[in-house]
C-alpha cells in the first residue's frame, strides 16, 4: 500500500494505491479545501500547499477505507516543479516515512505522468513512446522498459497547455484554457484559418509553440473581440497544436520501430487530440493509450504507481531527500 504525495506545482494531492488499485485519489482544489481558505480556487494554487497538505493527506487516508498504519511506503514528487511547492510535499512525505518507519522514494514529476497511463492501462506494453503534454511541459520520451527512459524531445519555449491557456485568455475565454477551447472548437471549423505548425516537418523532435501563439495574436489582435469567429479560431488553433503533437509523436514511434504510443498529461484529455491520435495510429497499425481523465492532470495516484515500480526495483530515498526543481528524468538503476 503506497501513499503518494504530489505538490510540484499548483495542486496539493495525496492518494493510496496498492498493486494497481486506487483506494483514494484526493486533490485539494477539488474537495473544497480551498474553500476553507478563501473561497475561490486560485489560478496559482501553490501558495496554499502548507495549508492544504494536512487535510489532503488525512482525507486520502480516511476516504480510502484504510488507516495510516496500513501504509507500507511513501512516494512523493521530489523532482521537476516549483521548488517552493515541491518542498511541502517532500517535507510531509519524509515526516510520514520517518514516523511510520517505512521506505521513502522520490519521483520525477514526468515519471508520474508516464505512470498515469500505466495505472489506467496495466496491459500497455513496453517499449512505448510517451508524449506527456500539459500546461507546464511537452515532452517526448522513449520508454524502453518500466522506469527506463530516454528523453527524445522537449518544448523549446511554451508548453502546449500553456499555449492553450494564453490563447484562451487572449480570446477572453477563461481559465483553464484547454477545456474551454476543446468545447468551443467542436462548434468551429478547424480549417477556417491556416495557422503555422512550428517544427512540424522537422526531424528535430523538440516542440515549439510560441510561434503559433504569436501568429494567432498578431492575426486577430486588431479586431473587435465581438466580431471574431471564436469557435473557428479556437478550432483552427487547436488543430495546429494537435497536428504537431500527433505527427511528431508518430514519427518518433516509427523511427524507433515501436508500435505503442502513450499520451499523458493534462492536455491528453483533449477530445480532438484523442480523436486525431486514434485516427492516425489506426492507419499505421500503432496502438495508442490514454489515461482515465482523473489521472490526466496532476494527481498523487500516478506518483504512488510510479513509487511502487521504483521500490520494486530497489529504489529508496534517504531521509535527506531534497526537492530538485530542474532535474532530468533518470532511469532506475
Amino acid at each position: 500500500m503506497i501513499l503518494g504525495i504530489e505538490t510540484s506545482c499548483d495542486e496539493t494531492a495525496a492518494a493510496l494505491v496498492d498493486k494497481g488499485r486506487v483506494y483514494s485519489n484526493v486533490i485539494a482544489s477539488q474537495i473544497g479545501v480551498h474553500a476553507k481558505f478563501g473561497g475561490i480556487v486560485p489560478e496559482v494554487a501553490s501558495r496554499k500547499h502548507v495549508e492544504a497538505i494536512g487535510y489532503t493527506i488525512k482525507e486520502a487516508v480516511e476516504s480510502s477505507g484504510k488507516i495510516l498504519p496500513d501504509v507500507e511506503a511513501v512516494a512523493v514528487t521530489s523532482a521537476y516543479g516549483l521548488v517552493g511547492s515541491l518542498m511541502v510535499g517532500v517535507a510531509a512525505a519524509k515526516s510520514l516515512a520517518y514516523a511510520l518507519n517505512v521506505p521513502l522514494v522520490g519521483i520525477h514529476h514526468i515519471e508520474g505522468h508516464i505512470f498515469a497511463n500505466i495505472l489506467s492501462n496495466p496491459d500497455m506494453p513496453v517499449p512505448h513512446i510517451c508524449l506527456t503534454v500539459s500546461g507546464g511541459h511537452t515532452m517526448l520520451i522513449y520508454v524502453s522498459d518500466l522506469c527506463r527512459y530516454e528523453t527524445l524531445g522537449n518544448t523549446l519555449d511554451d508548453a502546449a497547455g500553456e499555449a492553450f491557456d494564453k490563447i484562451a485568455k487572449f480570446l477572453g475565454l477563461g481559465f483553464p484554457g484547454g477545456p474551454v477551447i476543446d468545447t468551443l472548437s467542436a462548434k468551429g471549423d478547424r480549417a477556417a484559418f491556416n495557422l503555422p505548425r512550428p517544427m512540424h516537418g522537422s526531424r528535430n523532435p523538440d516542440f515549439s509553440f510560441s510561434g503559433l501563439k504569436t501568429a494567432v495574436v498578431n492575426k486577430f489582435k486588431t479586431d473587435d473581440r465581438n466580431t471574431l469567429p471564436l469557435a473557428d479560431i479556437a478550432a483552427s488553433f487547436q488543430e495546429a497544436i494537435v497536428d504537431v503533437l500527433v505527427s511528431k509523436t508518430v514519427r518518433a514511434a516509427e523511427q524507433r520501430g515501436v508500435l505503442t504510443i502513450s499520451v499523458t498529461g493534462g492536455v491528453s484529455s483533449n477530445k480532438r487530440l484523442r480523436e486525431s491520435f486514434s485516427e492516425v495510429c489506426r492507419k499505421k497499425g500503432i496502438e495508442v493509450f490514454f489515461p482515465s481523465r482523473e489521472f490526466c492532470t496532476d494527481n498523487a495516484a500516478m506518483v504512488a504507481a510510479a513509487g511502487a515500480a521504483r521500490i520494486e526495483r530497489g529504489d529508496r530515498a534517504g531521509l535527506d531527500l531534497n526537492a530538485v526543481p530542474n532535474a532530468p528524468l533518470n532511469s532506475a538503476k
Binding site: Y55, M87, V88, A92, K94, A99, L321
Partner: protein, 239 residues
C-alpha cells in the same frame, strides 16, 4: 512531559527536546537553503541523543515565523505531519515570541523586531507572565521611525535589527527605548519551553489548520501605499 520542538524560520535552524524543565537535547545548524534536506536527520539525532522516541513525545512545538518563506514552510509542514501521524498535539510559536522569551526577566514592554523587507520591520509586543511571555498588542508592520514615535512607555527592543536601527530608535524615542540582546538566535529548547504552559493547559493548535504566520496583508498595504506616494507606476524614468 516531553516536548519536541523545531524552528526552521530563520537562518539558524533549531531542534529541541525537553522533559519538564530538563533539557534533553538541543540542536542548531546554519540553514543555507538546506533546511529540508537536513531537518528529519537532525530531528532523529535529537531524539536519539535525548534517549527518546517519537512515540514518547507529548507534544510538538514549531516556529511559525515570520522569517524565511521557504524555511518556515519546511518546519511547519514537518511538525503538522508528525503531529498527525503520531496523534500528538501541536503548538505554533512565533519568532517574535521566541525573541521576547529570551528577555522574560525584564519588566519592560518587550518589542522584538524582525526584517519585513523593503526597509520595513515586523514588531511584536510582549510582557512577562508566569515565567514566560504573553502578547501585549497587535503586530506592527511598517517603518522604524513610526514605531519608535508611537512609544508611550519604556520598552526593551530586541534582536539584531533593533541594534541595526539603534541610533534611529534612540533619536526618536529618547530614553524610553532600551536595547536587549543583539542576537535573534533562540534555541530549540526555548521554543519548547515557550509552548510548555500551553500544552499543560491543553491550549494547543489544530494540526490541520496550522499555517505559517504571514504578516503579508499588512505589508502589501504598506507597499501599495508607498507606491502611491512615490508617484506613477510608469517606467518612464531614465537617468
Amino acid at each position: 512531559m516531553k516536548i519536541l520542538s523545531l524552528d526552521t524560520s530563520s537562518a539558524t535552524n533549531v531542534i529541541g527536546l525537553v522533559d519538564g524543565d530538563k533539557m534533553l537535547s538541543d540542536f542548531a545548524w546554519e540553514a543555507r537553503d538546506n533546511s529540508l534536506e537536513k531537518v528529519i536527520l537532525h530531528l532523529d539525532l535529537a531524539l536519539k541523543r535525548g534517549n527518546a522516541r517519537l512515540e514518547d513525545i507529548h507534544g510538538i512545538a514549531v516556529g511559525i515565523g515570520p522569517g524565511s518563506w521557504t524555511g518556515v514552510r519546511v518546519g511547519v509542514t514537518v511538525a503538522k505531519t508528525l503531529a498527525y501521524a503520531c496523534g500528538q498535539p501541536i503548538c505554533g510559536v512565533t519568532s517574535l515570541q521566541a525573541m521576547a522569551f529570551q528577555a522574560r526577566d525584564s519588566t519592560s514592554l518587550l518589542i522584538p523586531l524582525v526584517d519585513a523587507g523593503q526597509d520595513n520591520v515586523y514588531a511584536g509586543f510582549y510582557r512577562r507572565s508566569d515565567n514566560t511571555v504573553v502578547s501585549a498588542g497587535e503586530y506592527y508592520v511598517g517603518g522604524i521611525e513610526e514605531l519608535a514615535a508611537s512609544l508611550g512607555e519604556p520598552a526593551l527592543f530586541l534582536g539584531k535589527l533593533a541594534h541595526v536601527h539603534r541610533q534611529t530608535i534612540s533619536r526618536v524615542a529618547g530614553s524610553l527605548a532600551t536595547f536587549g540582546s543583539p542576537s535573534d538566535v533562540h534555541s530549540g529548547c526555548d521554543i519548547a519551553w515557550l509552548a510548555w504552559r500551553r500544552f499543560e493547559r491543553g491550549d494547543t493548535d489544530d494540526a490541520m489548520a496550522l499555517a505559517p504566520l504571514y504578516l503579508k496583508e499588512s505589508l502589501a498595504q504598506i507597499l501599495l501605499r508607498k507606491r502611491e506616494q512615490a508617484g506613477s507606476s510608469s517606467e518612464g524614468l531614465a537617468c
